[in-house]
């Protein structure tokens, strides 16, 4: 438990918790980006440079901005009631807490063998590229098709119906 880990964990948890609990939706998105940047820093700390920067590029550069755009276009930036009725809120939080309790119990009782990391493994872009082109070439192609389909699908879905009919 080093200070840097605790700091990054605190940033991540604060950001995500704020994202899930703030009233103003734009504040939620901004807090979410804070949490995701903290998460990316954790990836970097674990030695996964490529994933860390991809995380920033995709989540901060695209997903957060998309969410902000959606908030603007659906006029839900004005703060509304915090959430559903208090009973749903209570039971939702309770379920989440229970899930956390179960997971924490499993983690604390199960992973004693893997507590100490080995020497820093090398995960250079070169190796990742080779792995993507050899062992993981099929998933890569599938992801390519998925992304293309998502691109077209999102465009068609978001298009105005009147224009689609033309």
């Amino acid at each position: 438990m080093t200070i840097s880990f605790l700091l990054l964990a605190a940033i991540t948890i604060t950001g995500t918790a704020a994202a899930m609990s703030l009233k103003n939706l734009v504040h939620c998105v901004l807090a979410l980006t804070l949490g995701l940047v903290g998460l990316a820093a954790l990836y970097l700390r674990l030695g996964a440079q490529f994933v860390g920067f991809t995380q920033i590029l995709v989540y901060v550069g695209a997903v957060a901005i998309l969410a902000a755009f959606a908030i603007m276009m659906t006029r839900s930036a004005e703060p509304s009631e915090l959430s559903r009725s208090s009973s749903i809120r209570f039971s939702g939080t309770l379920i989440a807490l229970m899930v956390f309790a179960v997971l924490a119990w499993a983690i604390c009782s199960g992973t004693s063998a893997l507590q100490v990391p080995g020497p820093q493994p090398e995960a250079s872009v070169h190796q990742i590229g080779l792995a993507l082109m050899h062992l993981f070439v099929l998933p890569l192609e599938v992801i390519g098709i998925l992304l293309t389909a998502a691109l077209i699908g999102a465009g068609v879905l978001a298009m105005d119906e009147t224009r689609r009919a033309q």
């Binding site: 490529f50 920067f53 920033i56 550069g61 957060a64 902000a68």
Partner: protein, 391 residues
């Protein structure tokens, strides 16, 4: 001796580091690398503003600023003092925290990207394995700060400006990244230092810059167009179109925060220009083998200034695009052409060296460029405009 002058800053740093106690070494090393960059590029910003205003003035048949100091070269100082002493106004309904954080975040993001730019031989703050990816990842944080600025001001103009800016930046980020992919393919690395080293060799006197290949030239042109759009400069300055939405997303800012936005914008422009130099124009490498005695950082800044001049020239020439033209250009011309360019780079890589691959790849690029530009023009119905109420 030229070697010595070339490495003078590196040697200076090593010499200074010898006096630092061991525990402070990492921090001192970081400070000694970062501080020169933090000084050099804002200084370049100051020089660029006055050069830009003078150059634009000359292009528009007028003198630029010529009052403060000899030939007006002290104008940036006057501007700086003015913006520092101006009142800092925050709109009453603005979101205080976000309104404050936006310019800070913009400047931080703009400065962060300089970490991976090699400004000379052995002169880079961090030689990251994923340098180019880092550049684009941190560059995308600029969009978020633009959104924060536009939304938190609670002004229609700034919100419109921010929306335009984000739409434009997202659209042009794709051609920007795809145009640089060809270089990454050729160099086989995401590290900026490796990419420059690959280009810093010569056949007889000619350098191995990527811009001297058909795909490299196309990639360079696409990259520069996308970089212009990315840094919101004319002719892509829709987000801050002075005549429509005054200053766009930073209209509600005043005083020093306004200056910070200005600084961030120019730093972004320098960073993308420096990236274009690194990727296509050989970074700090000299253009001819007999000129290698000139220090590498001189070459880097000479190339950077040339590209800045080109930016100013473009700004003095072209009118602003319309939103639909902007989007059509990004999605119907830039994106397909950059994809075809990647195919061209692949063909180049797998064909034997010689005249044939030059011909084939050039043909591929030129034909697709011509077809795509025809496609852009088609569907555009020109008609004689009639002014019903004027005559």
């Amino acid at each position: 001796m030229p070697e010595m002058i070339d490495q003078i800053f590196v040697l200076l740093k090593h010499w200074l580091m010898a006096y630092v106690p061991g525990t402070l070494q990492p921090i001192a090393s970081a400070v000694l690398s970062v501080v020169p960059v933090l000084i050099a590029f804002p200084l370049l910003f100051a020089i660029t503003t006055v050069l830009e205003r003078k150059g634009l003035g000359r292009m528009q048949n007028r003198y630029g600023p010529n009052r403060v100091g000899p030939f007006g070269i002290l104008q940036p100082m006057a501007d700086g003092i003015k913006s520092l002493t101006k009142e800092d106004i925050i709109p009453r309904t603005a979101d205080q925290a976000v309104h404050f954080l936006a310019p800070v975040m913009l400047v931080i993001a703009s400065f962060l990207v300089y970490a991976v730019l090699p400004i000379g031989k052995n002169m880079v703050i961090a030689n990251l394995n994923t340098g180019v990816l880092f550049f684009f990842a941190v560059g995308s944080m600029v969009e978020l700060s633009v959104f924060m600025a536009g939304w938190s001001s609670r002004s229609k103009y700034s919100l419109l400006g921010a929306m335009r800016a984000i739409a434009q930046m997202i659209s042009y980020e794709m051609p920007l990244v795809l145009a640089s992919v060809v270089v990454i393919m050729a160099a086989g690395s995401l590290s900026t230092v490796t990419i420059v080293n690959m280009q810093a060799s010569y056949t007889r006197i000619w350098p191995h810059w990527y811009v001297f290949t058909p795909w490299g030239l196309t990639g360079f042109v696409l990259f520069m167009i996308a970089a212009t759009a990315e840094s919101n400069r004319c002719p892509f300055d829709m987000p801050e179109g002075e005549s429509e939405i005054i200053a766009g997303y930073y209209i509600e800012y005043s005083g020093f925060k306004f200056a910070l936005f200005f600084l961030g914008e120019y730093l972004g422009m320098f960073a993308t220009s420096a990236m274009a130099i690194t990727l296509f124009l050989g970074g700090w490498a000299a253009p001819f083998s007999f000129l290698t005695w000139i220090p590498s950082y001189v070459w880097f800044f000479a190339k950077l200034l040339t590209i800045i001049m080109a930016f100013i020239w473009i700004r003095g020439t072209l009118p602003r695009l319309r939103m639909d033209q902007l989007m059509n250009f990004a999605w119907k011309f830039m994106l397909p052409l950059s994809l075809i360019n990647i195919v061209g780079a692949g063909v180049w890589h797998f064909m034997p060296a010689g005249f044939a691959r030059w011909l084939i790849v050039s043909l591929l690029v030129v034909v697709s460029c011509a077809l795509l530009s025809r496609g852009l023009r088609r569907g555009k119905s020109f008609y004689v405009r009639t002014y019903r109420f004027a005559s």
